[in-house]
């Protein structure tokens, strides 16, 4: 006796998606090279819509409405993802191609001393020193402040008025335009106290931008530490500060480090505050406390503003170096996070 299956329905064959996609791409190519734009749509867009309509319709006929809706929505979600990826990938590829052509040892270690805008050569060594020092100063100041602020907010200040105010101002600080941070340091430190423009002043401006990011990311990480761990530790008669230092922080440390690295990467790309606080130099300046320094973003800005072909090439090279620098930080963050992650079997 054979049983009639009641749990299986008709489904589109496995090859349906690649086949429909291939057909859509083919149509798109034909339209593209034929110079036709049906319904006033670009061929690529027409092909994408055609793919979604064709597959959903086929699905409706064969599989029924629920599966058709599923496939339609699935296509839209994936489409949105691809659309969002386009500019990102485009930027990365463009920068990599254009930057790679000028990248060599001399470009990494050299400076712009005695190199005019119409001359090829030169390098980003001085800018790299500037970025490392300025971002390092910003990190040294804002990581302790930011992490301790987050500890106060999460561990001590829950529901208290003071922490609500701190939290509010951290939110406000997140929204401060970066040039305002630079302007603030310019007026408060350089004009008021008469310090010269310096890498340190730039570091201070970056600190203003970095603190709220560190506070927010650390706060998130501390909040996901289960309260049961705090209670378990407190119930053993462990003083609160030791509970925080030896139980809560180690549990959250990998996330905190990742957040710190992302905050560093974020401020490494800032341009506007640096222009006001340290401006530019064409040669390397190792003293962060006196005189102008160039950083990678201001190097790019400087070279682009020159407008000549060799200068613009150098700007692409600087952009490529900056992206690589940030990429290294991200990679380091992942590695450190993995090393410090709570041990699991």
């Amino acid at each position: 006796m054979t049983t009639v299956p009641i749990l299986t329905g008709r489904r589109l064959p496995r090859w349906s998606t690649p086949v429909v996609a291939a057909a859509a791409i083919l149509v798109g190519l034909v339209l593209q090279f034929g110079g036709i734009s049906p319904l006033g749509l670009a061929p690529a867009l027409f092909a994408a819509i055609g793919f979604i309509v064709a597959r959903s319709t086929w699905s409706w006929i064969l599989e029924g409405r629920r599966h058709a809706t599923d496939r339609l929505m699935g296509s839209l979600v994936v489409g949105a993802l691809l659309l969002a990826l386009v500019p990102l990938v485009w930027i990365l590829i463009t920068v990599a191609i254009r930057g790679y052509s000028v990248m060599n040892t001399e470009f990494i270690t050299g400076t712009m001393r005695n190199i005019g805008p119409r001359v090829e050569g030169g390098g980003i060594g001085h800018a790299f020193v500037g970025t490392l020092q300025q971002v390092g100063i910003a990190a040294l100041i804002s990581l302790p402040i930011g992490i301790m602020t987050a500890i106060q907010l999460v561990e001590y200040g829950r529901g208290k008025t003071l922490s609500r105010w701190i939290s509010f101002f951290v939110d406000v600080m997140t929204g401060v335009p970066s040039i305002v941070a630079g302007l603030f340091i310019y007026t408060a430190v350089i004009l008021t106290f008469g310090f010269s423009q310096s890498g340190f002043a730039a570091g201070l401006a970056l600190t203003i931008l970095m603190i709220p990011v560190v506070v927010r990311s650390t706060e998130e990480m501390l909040r996901i530490v289960p309260n049961s761990l705090r209670e378990g530790a407190l119930a053993l008669g462990i003083p609160k500060w030791r509970v925080i230092t030896f139980v809560v922080l180690p549990t959250a440390i990998s996330g905190i480090i990742t957040g710190a690295m992302l905050a560093i990467a974020r401020v490494a790309g800032e341009t506007a505050p640096l222009l006001l606080t340290t401006f530019l130099a064409q040669d390397v300046n190792f003293n962060a406390f006196d005189g102008s320094q160039t950083a990678l973003p201001t190097f790019i800005w400087d070279q682009i503003s020159r407008g000549t072909a060799p200068a613009i090439d150098r700007a692409w090279g600087g952009a490529y170096a900056l992206i690589l620098f940030v990429l290294v930080l991200y990679a380091a963050a992942r590695v450190i996070a993995a090393v410090f992650a709570p041990a699991r079997e």
Binding site: S228, L234, G237, V247, T251, A343, R344, E345
Partner: protein, 259 residues
């Protein structure tokens, strides 16, 4: 070791909300006292106010007295950290510290709260505590592995080992078996039988059979309606509470005719 606990006119608040009203009872040393009652009756709150864990909730406080051998736990100069070193606690869900090994979990209370000890002493503490918690045989070859890698029942016994490593006088257990399977539950109940010779034990449980199996004294808490304070209805010898309760509510609850 092991001390007597007296609760006198204890009111428990969460902000403005009176959660438990006028509890007066005595917990005898070297015995197991079970708190039973429906959800929301405040039995866990009473337990947590004994070692001052209740006040960790923002806005929470108590009035009345909690006496540990006639010393008020809520006295003016009392340090809650010292209270918690004297009155240990085991929670509903096993909560071993995820960043620590089994060994480090057991000695966490000693290492993080008192002065440094010689590692030989700590080795002894680890073995003694894990033996007391009936876990030594299962983990003695892997005490340097993460505590989070153990099974749920083993983790709970690890938490008990951690709690008794600091040599408390009293052990509070907040539904210690509710997240465990029957075999692990049996292991914990056997353990409670052994520990009661050394410690004063208070256990909150939803499981009336468990209360009947492990405790010598049972306290029944109840609440009339949501939003009203919970009350201690009756406390007495476990056999009396289950076979011959004095109050109608208790009889309804223990016989399953509640409501």
């Amino acid at each position: 070791m092991s001390k007597r606990i007296d609760l006198v006119d204890l009111d428990i608040f969460y902000g403005d909300f009176l959660a438990v009203e006028q509890v007066t009872l005595t917990v005898n040393p070297r015995s197991v006292t079970a708190f039973i009652g429906p959800s929301g009756c405040g039995k866990s709150s009473v337990l947590r106010s004994i070692n001052r864990m209740h006040e960790l909730v923002p806005g929470a406080y108590v009035t009345g007295e909690v006496l540990l051998d006639n010393e008020d736990v809520y006295g003016v100069d009392v340090d809650p950290v010292l209270v918690r070193r004297t009155i240990g606690m085991v929670f509903q869900r096993p909560n071993p510290f995820p960043t620590m090994s089994i060994y480090d979990n057991v000695v966490a209370g000693l290492r993080l709260s008192k002065r440094r000890r010689r590692s030989k002493d700590l080795d002894d503490v680890v073995e003694r505590s894990l033996r007391s918690a009936n876990l030594w045989a299962e983990v003695k070859d892997r005490v340097d592995r993460p505590g989070a890698g153990l099974s749920g029942g083993q983790q709970q016994r690890l938490c008990i080992a951690r709690a008794i490593a600091i040599e408390p006088e009293v052990l509070l257990m907040d539904e210690p078996c509710s997240a465990l399977d029957p075999i692990s539950t049996l292991a914990i109940e056997d353990l409670i039988h052994e520990l009661k010779d050394t410690y004063t034990i208070v256990i909150v449980t939803h499981n009336m059979q468990q209360a009947a199996r492990v405790s010598s004294t049972t306290a029944f808490f109840n609440v009339n309606a949501v939003g009203e304070p919970g009350r201690l209805i009756e406390i007495g010898e476990t056999s009396q509470i289950f076979s011959n309760p004095r109050v109608k509510q208790t009889e309804d609850y223990v016989s399953g005719r509640f409501g």
